[in-house]
Subunit: 340 residues, 2 copies
Amino acid sequence: MIKKRIKRVSLKDIAEKVGVSTALVSYVLNGQEKEKRVGAEVVLKIRKVAKQMNYVPNQIARSLRKGVTKTIGLVVADIANPFFGAMARIIEDEANRFGYTVVFGSSDEDSNKSNILVDTLLNRQVDGFIIVPSEGCNDCIRKLVKNEMPVVLVDRYFPDIITNYVVLNNRGASFEAVSHLIEKGFRQIGMIAYRSTMIHMQERIRGYEEAMRANGLEKNIRIKYVRYDNVNVDTEKAIREMTARGAKIDALFFANNTLSIAGLYYINKNNIKIPESLGLIAFDESEAFDFFYCPLTYVKQPVDEMGKEAVNVLVEQINGSKKIAHIELMHQLVKRQSCR
Amino acid sequence: MIKKRIKRVSLKDIAEKVGVSTALVSYVLNGQEKEKRVGAEVVLKIRKVAKQMNYVPNQIARSLRKGVTKTIGLVVADIANPFFGAMARIIEDEANRFGYTVVFGSSDEDSNKSNILVDTLLNRQVDGFIIVPSEGCNDCIRKLVKNEMPVVLVDRYFPDIITNYVVLNNRGASFEAVSHLIEKGFRQIGMIAYRSTMIHMQERIRGYEEAMRANGLEKNIRIKYVRYDNVNVDTEKAIREMTARGAKIDALFFANNTLSIAGLYYINKNNIKIPESLGLIAFDESEAFDFFYCPLTYVKQPVDEMGKEAVNVLVEQINGSKKIAHIELMHQLVKRQSCR
DNA sequence: TTGGTATGTCTAAACGATTAAGCATACATT
DNA sequence: AATGTATGCTTAATCGTTTAGACATACCAA
């Protein structure tokens, strides 16, 4: 059952060729020839032979011995979602700067998948995790934390679990967005959110509610919840209901990129006039927001910063830091024509 | 220098607790209790203790011993590009089905970065590669192939290197797109492509040229080349020049998603009327194509199929297959309003 | 009794690197 | 001559698995 590929060159091969022990080869190839007092000619010879034999160190063996893999496990909701794709890219670059490689997995917001992913990555002895946690994976995160596995949560976190996180100032972002709609004269403002107990959603909802209340519009609060695995159908239904004659809304606030885009498809299909019939504010970024016939005002997240901070915090944790980082980043409200 | 984390439970710990050798534990936990004739009560006890101690096998140790890591190395141009993000997602799912985990890296179309990535992944002893090769990394791919490392190239390949690939029928796709423009009455059709010798670009260009020639329009061939690291500026300049009075084009064909979107921004900014002043066909998919004021006709790639096929071919290679797969998938021309 | 077969378990090497500790030798110092 | 110290290299254990092969015991058949 042992794999038979072209036999890779090992330290031993070099050692034999040069006529020394593997220890010397290891010292030299790790740049410890000074401390370990390796003879000058031997150093040169080892270097030469290593290059000539095309030696590539076996990171697996090294990892086993050192108990460190120089690998980061990344769990996102869906790598195909541009928000997470962009974040993954930043994380990749930043991790590389520190000598880490990234292994990733998509959870589809499913706690079961998340669990499996985390276990797989644990098997593989990743040195730490960056996780976009899903609803219901509290225990899984708690287990990691209890085992002192370095973990940084991003985009969301669990208030009852003490661990590092890097998130957006979601409530404030939402508050500003909705306040902006109100300033522009909208009163019947509806919101479309994921049906999720996760804190990022809850905070965005809370920000909406607070902005409404702060302006005496608490009676106008209308929130529709969409299931993650049924975005299109649920979003269409939500908008249809909210724009039906009767309790008609005059503006709509979307809780994230997927919802916004689903909404835009519906709005286009039904020729709803933006901003005359309906003011809009979206969340996250998308080219769709730029090319929609009436460019959207949206809440922009600092994805780059989020990714970078996550890696920085994680690397510190891996290096033994004990202090817990709770980072809340600021949004930016990009104002355009979708709310006059 | 040895890492001190919470000590993970090992086979030995279980063996000691149960009072047997590690061999038995290994057999049982790998489901070989029948073949290896392990006593019935011992089997139960090992299972119980393993569960109770929360045992997680060390994949690193197993990999070292077996010479197999159950890991696939994925090198794309940029994981943040939705085309590659979508592909990564498919590859992830398909790889998981076969018990593989995916390690990824972005090359930015840079052969140097590609080289470093491949070396890093080699260190980590991945069982095989799925690579979107960059210009100039011929040697790097050749080296892998020579060492009998399982490799599948996607999106593009090197005609002079014998190895597996899964690509689009690029020339045909381009040919059909441009023919469609011609059918619709356009004659002065320009193309915007990457300045790249890679086959996918060359084939898309060739398809364009052939369609032009097939319709006696060879004198009208106008191609502008854009640098990967300067897309916005170069694309703007290209369109400006092509639409300047004098040798004015009446339609434009973009060679991929990034170029299309850069072009659309320029077109919007300059109020160019689509399709009246300029017919358009894009390549790849994007929500931008749907929300652009005049929905774009575009060449759709079967990303899912491409990802799946790549994994399937790779797994076969890893399992020892010697036959080389050259797979060309069919595009789909999605016809909408941007070319009347 | 002898040998054969079945059953159950263990030993120890191997994967490839790292690294503490030990062994030689040469040279300088008193 | 005795001791110290610098230099240069080797030995062997270790990380956590896997697995071929040895070993031990029981039972049955001839």
